[in-house]
Amino acid sequence: MEELMENLAQCRRCGICRDAVYEDKGFDGICPVWKNTAGFETSFMRGRIQIAIALIEGRLEKTEENAESLFSCTLCGNCTSICAAEFDPAQCLESVRHVLKEIPNEVRDTIAKKILENNNPYVEENKTRRDWVKEVGFDIPCTGEVLYFTGCTAGFKLPETVIATAKVLKAAGVDFAVLEDEPCCGSVMLRTGMVEEAKKNAENALEMIATSSAKTIVVTCAGCLKTLREDYIERFGFDLPEVLHVVEFLKPLIDSGKLKLKKSDEIKKITWHDPCHLGRALGVYEEPRDVLKAIPGVELVEMETNREAAMCCGSGGGLRSYDGDLAKKIAADRMQDAEEIGVDILATACPFCEHNLKDGASSMGSTIRVVDILDFLADSLE
């Protein structure tokens, strides 16, 4: 707590985290929540930090209503990218959610409960998440040196991405396994402050991953990537095999010619949306772009904000569950960025981003096709 308060005190309330436009560094606005709500001070990080300090110090009553702003945040980290002070505001907010866990939040508690009970936040019967294997046309074992950890959102909500990934891995000659009863990584628990529950879940996940005998874990979800690669090791001290996003895993296979892609005369104008957990959190910016550029017929065009300064899709930090309407509004705003550069396709590499951006596109009547990079790659296989 002492360290957290010291960190929070680093905020000098300058407000750079609201709407800074800093062309030299690529920023065109900072907080997607401020931009897409009524815009009071509580809707961006400066205000949230003041609220956090007041709640912790007891100057503000610990009620669900007073803590709303702490959860109306995607934890996208754009504020951290621009903050001139020596602390990480987004990381601090995550810690604040933990230390103020006593404040009621039904959405947060329900998700954590479901994950602990069912190994996923969506359905009671977790094993159904492997039903997609029947559709790929080849067997996928449960053990092997390369483990494809599909993630809950792709597994249950976007099975086409999982199927596409399996096809691409197979085409690249990779023997891979998928767990029989894959657990949730617990990312959303960590982001919403349910750290003890997340650790309990992680211990279970670690055991199940160990049954696969994997030496490399490949993921298609940016949230799973950050959690398994960073949080399990740094926060829980677990020993895990190497964890790679599939775009990192595939890039050398494309470069070496092991993954062959068919030629195309048709030029497709594509933009890349950087998932916050993949980009700002882990610094994976170039690999997905390199993969896209390797696909014949792709013309890659950048949105105005990209890489470290990319605006968020709106679904992170538990916001999609906490305030779905706001999450979709932010997604529509991001789709507007894509509309402004006139692309045919927006590709990303996170099922949360994909799912939310599709909703955003639909809400604004955008005809831009939102795809996971693996869906697009699978369509381009020889």
């Binding site: 309330r13 609201r18 800074a20 030299d24 001070e41 509580t42």
Partner: protein, 468 residues
């Protein structure tokens, strides 16, 4: 706050843009001003245009509610701290920009930040050439209301000197436009000094005491294309101060001319020198860091050559480290913010103007209070126009140590008094200056008369301008 006021405010701006929620009020009780007491307002309203601001002010006048205008909330001297149970009118939704290319001017709404206008004007190869050090969060209108200065001021003067006119909502709700645009048939903002007295000037640095600035019209200039960045070393205060005077006397186009004492520069460079790529150097007693900018290469080269000669004439030497001025100017959106926050301390500032030849007095005064009260701090400064110098003392404290903070508050109060007696002048009448000034009774009486005449109910930012 009276529920009827809230209901009526909601009718003006819509429910979504009015709040009395406890958490929201708390966040408006403070700004970036450190070592200041928070004050919880009664309601926050976020209007979308000048007409809504007018209706809000009429309502506040009807119910006799204090009003505090606020835009970026980045001000450092309590300019936007509200009144207890008062109304905060937050102006960040006023984001219209209108360029008058032929008139070399632009009109911006009160919510337009320097970052946003820079991006807009860059597309037209133009700029507003004076930047507050908080440009990424500070609005142009806010900077006008506090009468600020910053990079660019060394040639172009303070922000106020770039203002061609303002649109203001007066304390009775009347909307007026000053400068050439007072004429409804004018093609745009092109002349501030029109129709007699400088009414525009009344609102520059007024801290919202006479009304709410909803739009400002600013001069714009063609962007400089050619720059020379250099550092000049001196062994006495007199040498460096006379150099700064001579730079102006010879019309050398130093867009940003900073003065650092050796130990202060060492302190800065220890903190961020490496990050900014400034090479290690045994800095002299006094360093002038200057960016010469021009739209013409021949002028820039000639100015740079003359600056070197003048430096030597005054007993100095050309240090030749260009990275420092380059970072100050090219990185003006970032350099100062980073330098202010990298060290971890909180600080209270006491911006003021001196003459360039009196700059050392500010340095000596801050050193004296640092010794007396036992805290860490510094001051540096920069040339701000015809013959003035902006000093920006920083008084550091540990935000988690109330005793340390109190020490800074006491030192700050004393410093304002002693600086005043060195001949220093504040940009604006922030609340604490009212205790520091003396021998200005007639001036203050006139200011009070103006306040009473314009704002007889005293609803607009009542504690500002000396809190009559």
């Amino acid at each position: 706050m009276d529920k009827n006021i809230i209901t009526e405010l909601s009718k003006i701006v819509g429910n979504e843009y009015v709040s009395t929620k406890a958490d929201i009020l708390l966040t408006y009780s403070v700004t970036a001003s450190m070592a200041s007491d928070p004050v919880i307002p009664g309601a926050i309203v976020r209007p979308a245009n000048s007409e809504q601001v007018s209706k809000i002010i009429q309502l506040a006048a009807k119910y006799n509610v204090s009003v505090t205008p606020r835009s970026g909330g980045s001000s450092l001297q309590e300019e936007a701290i509200p009144e207890p149970d008062g109304l905060v009118v937050e102006l960040m939704r006023l984001v219209d920009i209108k360029l008058y290319k032929e008139l070399r001017s632009v009109t911006v709404g009160a919510g337009v930040t320097y970052g946003a206008i820079e991006k807009f004007l860059k597309e037209h190869d133009l700029f507003i050439p004076v930047y507050p050090e908080s440009s990424l969060m500070c609005t142009v209108a806010g900077q006008v209301a506090v009468n600020g200065a910053g990079p660019g001021s060394s040639h172009f003067g303070c922000t106020g000197e770039l203002v061609l006119g303002v649109e203001v909502v007066l304390p009775d709700g009347t909307i007026i436009t000053t400068g050439s645009e007072a004429n409804p048939y004018a093609s745009g903002p092109y002349q501030r000094y029109s129709f007699g007295p400088d009414i525009t000037g009344l609102f520059i640095g007024s801290l919202g005491s006479f009304g709410i600035i909803t739009k400002v019209s600013m001069k714009v200039f063609k962007r400089n294309k050619f720059y020379d960045y250099n550092t000049y070393g001196f062994e006495t205060h007199e040498q460096s101060e006379q150099f700064m005077v001579d730079i102006k006397q010879h019309d050398i186009n130093g867009v940003f001319t900073s003065l650092y004492e050796g130990p202060v520069l060492e302190l800065f460079m220890d903190m961020i020198g490496e990050e900014l790529g400034v090479p290690k150097h045994n800095w002299p007693f006094s360093t002038v860091s200057m960016t010469i900018g021009s739209v013409r290469e021949d002028l820039m080269k000639s100015d740079a050559a003359l600056a070197k000669k003048l430096c030597e004439k005054h007993g100095g030497h050309v240090i030749g480290i260009s990275q420092l001025p380059k970072q100050e100017w090219n990185g003006r959106f970032w350099f100062f913010v980073r330098a202010c926050y990298v060290h971890g301390w909180h600080w209270r500032t006491l911006y003021h103007h001196q003459t360039p030849t009196n700059a050392h007095q500010s340095i000596e005064e801050i050193r004296r209070v640092m010794d007396k009260y036992g805290f860490l701090g510094h001051t540096a400064g920069f040339v701000t126009g015809h013959s003035s110098f902006n000093a920006y003392p920083h008084l550091y404290f540990d935000p988690q140590d109330p005793e340390d903070e109190q020490k800074i508050r006491d030192a700050h109060k004393e410093l304002a008094k002693t600086l005043f007696k060195t001949g220093a002048v504040p940009f604006k009448m922030a609340e604490y200056w009212s205790d520091a000034i003396e021998g200005m009774d007639n001036y203050m009486a006139l200011l009070e008369l103006v306040k009473k005449t314009i704002d007889s109910q005293k609803i607009m930012s009542p504690r500002k301008l000396g809190g009559f």
